[in-house]
C-alpha cells in the first residue's frame, strides 16, 4: 500500500549519510542547527538533571525511613526536597518529552526538513544549559530551601538560601521552553508537507501543539512572577510583602496561573506518545481520532482556568474557589475521553507483547490512578483535609512520574531505533517497564494512605505512627531506581553493540517510519506527499 509517494533509497545501499554520521567532532554538534542533533543534546542534558533530581529523591526517601531526622539536619532536608522539586520540574519534566522526542519527531511527522527556526532551537538549548549551570551553581553554593513553589514571604524575605540564583535559573529554563513552544507552533502551522492536513496530523503532533500553546501563554507569567520575586528579594521592592501592603496570596495566584497549566505541559506530551504507541501496539487506527485531538486542546484551554484549586485553604474567596473547583471537574472529562478512546483502540486490535506494549499498559495503569485521584483534590470539602499532605504528593507523582516519565521512557524505547539506528534487547525493555511499574506503585501508593492519615508534605521529622508506610515507600523507591537505571545501561550498550535497526521495526504507520533509521539530515530525500489518514493500517471503516 505505497500511498505515500516518495523516492527513498533502500537501506541496502552503501552506508547512507544520516544525521549522525554527516559530521563528527564536538563543533559539529555544538553548532548544529539540525533538530535531531539538538534533540540528542537535550536527551543528554535532561538525563544528567534526571539523575541529579533522582539522587535528591533518594536522599529524601533515605531520610524518611525513620521518623527522627537522623540522616541530615532539617535545613539540609529542606534543601534536598526543594532541589529535587526544582530540578525535576524545571530541568527535567517540562523539557522532557517536547525538547527531546518532540524536537526529533515534530518536523519529521509533519514532513518538514527542520523546525521553522533552527537557530532559535539551538538557542533554546543553550539557554537551557545556562539555566542548568546557574541552577547547579545555586545547588553547589548552598542550595535553596523554599520548595519548588517559592511561596512568599518566606522566599522573598525569610529564607537564607540562594533564592535569586535559583529563580533566575528557573526563569531562563522557562525562556528556553517558550522558544521550543514557539518553534512548534510555527512549524505545525506553516511547514506541513503537501497533503498533511490538520486532521491527518499524528496525535503526537496535536498534543505538542496543545503543549506549545501552554508554553507560550503560561510561561511568561511565571517569568514575570519570578522577576517580581527577584526584585523583592534583591532590592527590597515590596510586591508581596504584607508590611508594605503587599499581598502574599497574590504571589500564589500568579504562580499557579502558570504552574497549574505547567502540569499539563508535564502530561500532554506523554498522552501524545501514548496515542502513537497504542495505535502501533494494536496495529489499529486510534479510535475517535478527532476526539482525542480536541481533548488535548480542551485540556490546554481549561487548564488555564483552574489554578485556584491549589488555593482552597489559602483564604481566597469562597466563590472563586467554587468556580475553580467546577472547572477542575470539567478538566477530568477530556482526560477520561482519551482513556476510553485508547481502550477502544485496543478492542479487536492485534496486540503484540513487546516493550512498547508494556510501557503503554504501565502508563495506562498509573495515569488512571493519577487522574482519578485528582477528583479527590478538586472536591473542596475533601481538599481542606488533603491539601499539602502526602495525598497530594502521591497524586502529582502518579501524573508526572507515572504519566510523563513513563511516557518519556516508553517513547524513548519506541523511537530509539529511529533516533540511534540501533535495537536494544526487547526482554530488557519489558523487564524495566515492569520494574518501574511495580516500584512506582510501591513507592507512591502508600503515600495516598499517609496523606489521608494527615501526614503533611515537606516534613523532615514525623510522628511514629507514619513510619511503616514510609518504609514501604522507601523500599519501593529502591526498586523504582533500579527500573530507571537498567534502561540507561542497555540503551547505552545498544548504541555500541546493538544490532542495526530496520527503518520500521514495529510495523508502525507515520512519516517517521517511512524514512531511514536514523533519518538523513533533512529527514526526507524529497518532500513527502501525504495522501492517507493517520494510522491507516488498513481500509478505515466508519461506524
Amino acid at each position: 500500500m505505497a500511498i505515500v509517494e516518495r523516492d527513498i533509497r533502500t537501506s541496502e545501499d552503501a552506508p547512507r549519510v544520516n544525521y549522525l554520521n554527516n559530521g563528527y567532532g564536538l563543533k559539529s554538534w555544538l553548532l548544529t542547527k539540525d533538530h535531531k542533533r539538538i534533540a540528542v543534546l537535550y536527551i543528554i542534558s535532561i538525563s544528567i538533571f534526571f539523575a541529579l533530581g533522582g539522587l535528591f529523591a533518594s536522599l529524601v526517601r533515605f531520610e524518611l525511613m525513620t521518623p527522627e531526622g537522623d540522616l541530615m539536619s532539617s535545613d539540609t532536608y529542606n534543601k534536598v526536597f526543594s532541589m529535587h522539586g526544582i530540578i525535576m520540574v524545571f530541568f527535567f519534566l517540562v523539557p522532557s518529552i517536547p525538547a527531546t522526542i518532540g524536537n526529533f519527531l515534530v518536523p519529521i511527522m509533519v514532513g518538514a526538513k527542520d523546525l521553522a527556526f533552527p537557530r532559535v532551537n539551538l538557542l533554546s538549548w543553550y539557554v537551557y544549559v545556562v539555566a542548568g549551570i546557574l541552577g547547579t551553581i545555586a545547588v553547589v553554593g548552598g542550595g535553596v530551601d523554599t520548595g519548588w513553589t517559592f511561596y512568599t514571604p518566606y522566599s522573598s524575605t525569610y529564607s537564607n538560601s540562594n533564592v535569586i540564583l535559583t529563580a533566575m535559573a528557573a526563569f531562563l529554563a522557562g525562556f528556553s521552553s517558550i522558544l521550543t513552544g514557539l518553534n512548534f507552533v510555527v512549524t505545525i502551522h506553516t511547514m506541513r508537507a503537501p497533503g498533511m492536513t490538520w486532521f491527518r496530523l499524528p496525535l503526537f503532533v496535536w498534543s505538542h501543539y496543545a503543549t506549545s500553546l501552554i508554553m507560550l501563554l503560561g510561561t511568561p507569567v511565571i517569568a514575570i512572577t519570578l522577576v517580581l520575586l527577584m526584585l523583592e528579594r534583591g532590592f527590597g521592592f515590596g510586591f508581596f510583602d504584607p508590611n508594605l501592603g503587599g499581598d502574599p496570596v497574590l504571589f500564589q495566584h500568579l504562580f499557579w496561573f502558570y504552574s497549574h497549566p505547567a502540569v499539563y505541559i508535564m502530561i500532554l506530551p506523554s498522552m501524545g506518545v501514548m496515542s502513537e504507541m497504542v495505535a502501533c501496539v494494536a496495529r489499529k487506527r486510534v479510535f475517535g481520532y478527532e476526539f482525542v485531538a480536541f481533548s488535548s486542546v480542551a485540556i490546554a484551554i481549561l487548564g488555564f482556568l483552574v489554578w485556584g484549586h491549589h488555593m482552597f485553604v489559602s483564604s481566597q474567596s469562597t466563590y472563586a474557589g467554587m468556580v475553580f473547583s467546577v472547572i477542575t471537574f470539567l478538566v477530568a472529562v477530556p482526560s477520561a475521553i482519551k482513556t476510553f478512546n485508547w481502550t477502544a483502540t485496543l478492542y479487536k486490535g492485534s496486540i503484540v507483547f513487546d516493550t512498547p506494549m508494556f510501557y503503554v499498559y504501565g502508563y495506562l495503569g498509573l495515569f488512571l490512578v493519577g487522574g482519578l485521584t485528582g477528583l479527590f483534590l478538586s472536591s473542596m470539602g475533601l481538599d481542606i483535609h488533603l491539601h499539602d499532605t502526602y495525598f497530594v504528593v502521591a497524586h502529582f507523582h502518579y501524573i508526572m512520574v507515572g504519566g510523563q516519565v513513563m511516557g518519556y521512557l516508553g517513547g524513548m524505547h519506541f523511537w530509539w531505533p529511529k533516533i540511534t539506528g540501533k535495537m536494544y534487547p526487547d526482554i530488557w525493555g519489558r523487564v524495566s517497564a515492569l520494574l518501574v511499574f511495580l516500584g512506582f506503585n510501591l513507592t507512591f501508593f502508600p503515600q495516598f494512605i499517609l496523606g489521608y492519615m494527615g501526614m503533611p508534605r515537606r516534613y523532615h521529622v514525623y510522628p511514629d505512627e507514619f513510619q511503616v508506610l514510609n518504609v514501604a515507600s522507601s523500599l519501593g523507591a529502591s526498586i523504582l531506581a533500579l527500573g530507571y537505571l537498567i534502561p540507561g545501561a542497555y540503551l547505552t550498550w545498544s548504541i555500541f553493540k546493538g544490532p542495526k535497526a530496520p527503518d520500521n521495526p514495529w510495523g508502525a504507520k507515520g512519516l517517521e517510519w517511512e524514512t531511514t533509521s536514523p533519518p538523513p539530515t533533512f529527514n526526507f530525500d524529497e518532500t513527502p506527499l501525504v495522501t492517507e489518514e493517520a494510522y491507516q493500517y488498513g481500509p478505515i471503516e466508519e461506524h
Binding site: 533552527p118 510555527v186 511568561p220 517580581l228 532590592f235 500568579l254
Partner: protein, 223 residues
C-alpha cells in the same frame, strides 16, 4: 549543509528548511506574533498586579502618581510615537528595497529610542534624589501613605522592564541596520525588518499603557 541546498534553484535569503519565500515569510511573521503574545502575558502579570493593588490602595497610588513628572513622561510618549512612525516608514521602504531610505529611517528610529532612554535616565535620577526608590533609597519627604512604596516598586518594575525592552530593541535595530548596510535585504527578502518593526511597535504600545496608568493617575484630582 550548504552543499545540499546549493544545487537547487535557491532564492536569495531562503533558509534551507523552507520550501519557498512565502512560507518563510509566513513563518517569520507568525513566529514574531507568537512571541509578542508571550510578551503581552509577561507584561500582563505586571498590569494585573498593578490593577489589584491600585484597587486596594487608591489613595497611595494617587499620591505616588503625583510624584511623577508628567512633562517628561509626556515628551517620552511623543518620542516613542514618532519613533513608531519612522519605524513604519522603514518597513514601508523595505518593500521596495530602497537601502538608503531604510537606513535613514532606522537611524531616526534609533535616535528617538536613545532619546527616550536618556529622558528616562533623568527621571530615574530625580527619583533617587527624592528618596523614592523602595528598598534602596527610601526617604520620602513629609507624611506619606504606607503603600507608597508599593506604587514605586511597581513604577520601577514596570518602567524598568519596559526600558530593558527598549535597550534590547536598540541592540536589534543596530543589527538590522548593519545587515541593511551590507545589502542583505531586498524587495523580496525583508522579513527581518518587518518583524523587528512588529517588536518595536509592541514596545511602544506597552508604554502607551504605562503612561496613563502611572503618570496621568495623579492629574485626576483624587476622587
Amino acid at each position: 549543509m550548504a552543499d545540499h541546498a546549493a544545487h537547487r534553484d535557491h532564492p536569495h535569503g531562503l533558509a534551507h528548511q523552507f520550501e519557498d519565500m512565502p512560507q518563510q515569510k509566513e513563518s517569520a511573521v507568525i513566529g514574531m506574533w507568537s512571541f509578542l503574545i508571550t510578551e503581552i502575558l509577561f507584561f500582563g502579570g505586571f498590569f494585573a498586579t498593578y490593577l489589584i493593588y491600585r484597587s486596594y490602595y487608591p489613595y497611595a497610588f494617587f499620591e505616588g502618581s503625583s510624584h511623577l513628572d508628567i512633562l517628561l513622561g509626556g515628551i517620552n510618549t511623543a518620542v516613542l510615537i514618532v519613533s513608531s512612525l519612522t519605524m513604519a516608514m522603514a518597513v514601508h521602504e523595505s518593500h521596495s528595497g530602497n537601502k538608503k531610505r531604510i537606513m535613514v529611517y532606522l537611524i531616526l528610529t534609533g535616535i528617538l529610542g536613545l532619546t527616550f532612554l536618556v529622558i528616562k535616565y533623568f527621571e530615574y535620577s530625580s527619583k533617587v534624589e527624592h528618596g523614592l526608590v523602595p528598598g534602596l533609597v527610601w526617604h520620602p519627604h513629609g507624611e506619606y501613605s504606607p503603600q507608597l512604596a508599593l506604587f514605586f516598586s511597581l513604577y520601577f518594575g514596570m518602567t524598568g522592564m519596559h526600558a530593558l525592552h527598549m535597550v534590547v530593541g536598540i541592540g536589534l535595530l543596530t543589527w538590522v541596520f548593519v545587515k541593511t548596510a551590507q545589502g542583505t535585504y531586498t524587495a523580496e527578502y525583508n522579513a527581518p525588518i518587518e518583524i523587528f518593526g512588529l517588536y518595536w511597535h509592541f514596545v511602544d504600545i506597552v508604554w502607551i499603557f504605562l503612561f496613563p496608568l502611572l503618570y496621568l493617575l495623579g492629574t485626576q484630582g483624587g476622587h
